[in-house]
Amino acid sequence: MSDSEALQFRDPEKADRLTSRLDALMDEIGHPVNIMHVCGTHEQSIAKYGLRSRLPDGLSVRMGPGCPVCVTNMPEVDEAVALAEDGKIVATYGDMFQVPGTEKSLEDAKGEGADVRVVYSASEAHEIAAENPDEDVVFFATGFETTAAPTAAVLTDDPVDNFYVLSAHKYVPPAMEVVAELPDTDIDGFLAAGHAAVITGYGLFEEFVDEYETPVVVGGFEPLDVLLALERLLTFIRDGEPGLDNAYRRVVSEEGNVAAKERMWDVFETTSGEWRGIAEIPDANLVISEEYADHDARTQFDVAPDVGEGDPLTEQCICGDIMAGQADPDECDLFGEECTPQNPVGACMVSSEGTCKIWLEYGGQPDL
């Protein structure tokens, strides 16, 4: 690969021109602007390339509920732990392995003898079930649209009888609405996640823009992609126009990936549920529809976790405030002290997409 090709979306000269344009737009706007993004990969890119240090004064870009592991509710982890302790083989993504439940993580359960396995895909979890026909295998399925569609693909492909799914899948758009309505969160525009939009399409955000009169721009992950998306957002804000734009046209279309969407809505339906630390969110949890109930762990097993008080440190964790855009990781007393990636108190410190873990890895408060 030539340097010129590799650096096409990191050209410093283009970045300078874009940041100058952001400066000019902020001058015209004349007041502080809060942008929320909802994707761990955006936060990784912003931290990695030090983009915050290049942004104009008064322009704040914060990560919202963009980490699916982080918003998985503690009782959902408790359900997975209970199923593992009840003798089922529980398979889950690596990011979920250490996430604390009320009293235990799946890692703790494994340490006490439960059969918990880390998989990288829903199909790998299904392979475990196919190889162990006498065991019940439960796939603890987490993530947004990008992993919900793969879970659906496995369930629609005639899975073996002993394969079950404990769904903790989440659907992002309703969460954006809730965050937009939070009284202490003042968001002037949303930078929407490029890869979720590969599945859903950017057209999905039209209703949101109309209803909340807040601009939304779908953005990619190269430095220039992020700066371009911010330029589009600030232009909408300057013009007082709550518009929608796609700044990641290379891979995102208006209608999205139709095949993936069809599978997803064949298998899942939405229901209300708690997003850890944020709020009860209507229609943002994906649960398995009646047609696939034979493979729904909640329907087939009596999942009733018996949990106690839990870790008192959890009370001090501000992961929810951080994901609601109301606090930064370094405002938490536990950050980097009692709470580290090795000994996480909250999920924001566990996942590679968690704001706290990203900030700690890039040296605390990155480039602000």
């Binding site: 090709e5 096409q8 979306f9 990969t41 690596g94 392995f97 250490q98 998989v119 992993t147 992950f221």
Partner: protein, 95 residues
């Protein structure tokens, strides 16, 4: 889990493809990719499934981005493509 990883299709068998990521080959499902794909195509992969064919002119930039994000943290990169078990003999993502 949600970091989309680009890889090159080496061979296709039904709805499964062998996809190469940084010299590691993995079986990837291609039934929800939403496009016709063939050997030599690059696809964006999430958790063992291709979710989109990457247009030819987009390939280099996409690969460069992920290499740089994962630079210095090979364990994260291998975990994203599910190669931790074979390569390093451990299962936990954050160990």
């Amino acid at each position: 889990m949600c970091l989309g990883i680009p890889g090159e299709i080496k061979s296709i068998d039904g709805m499964e493809a062998t996809v190469e990521f940084w010299d590691v080959e993995k079986a990837i499902r291609i039934d929800i990719v939403g496009d016709e794909v063939e050997e030599g195509d690059y696809v964006l992969n999430h958790a063992g499934f291709a979710i989109r064919k990457i247009p030819d002119d987009e390939v280099e930039e996409t690969i460069a981005l992920y290499e740089s994000i994962l630079q210095g943290d090979e364990a994260d990169g291998l975990e994203e493509i599910g190669a931790m078990d074979e390569e390093l003999g451990i299962g936990g993502a954050n160990e």
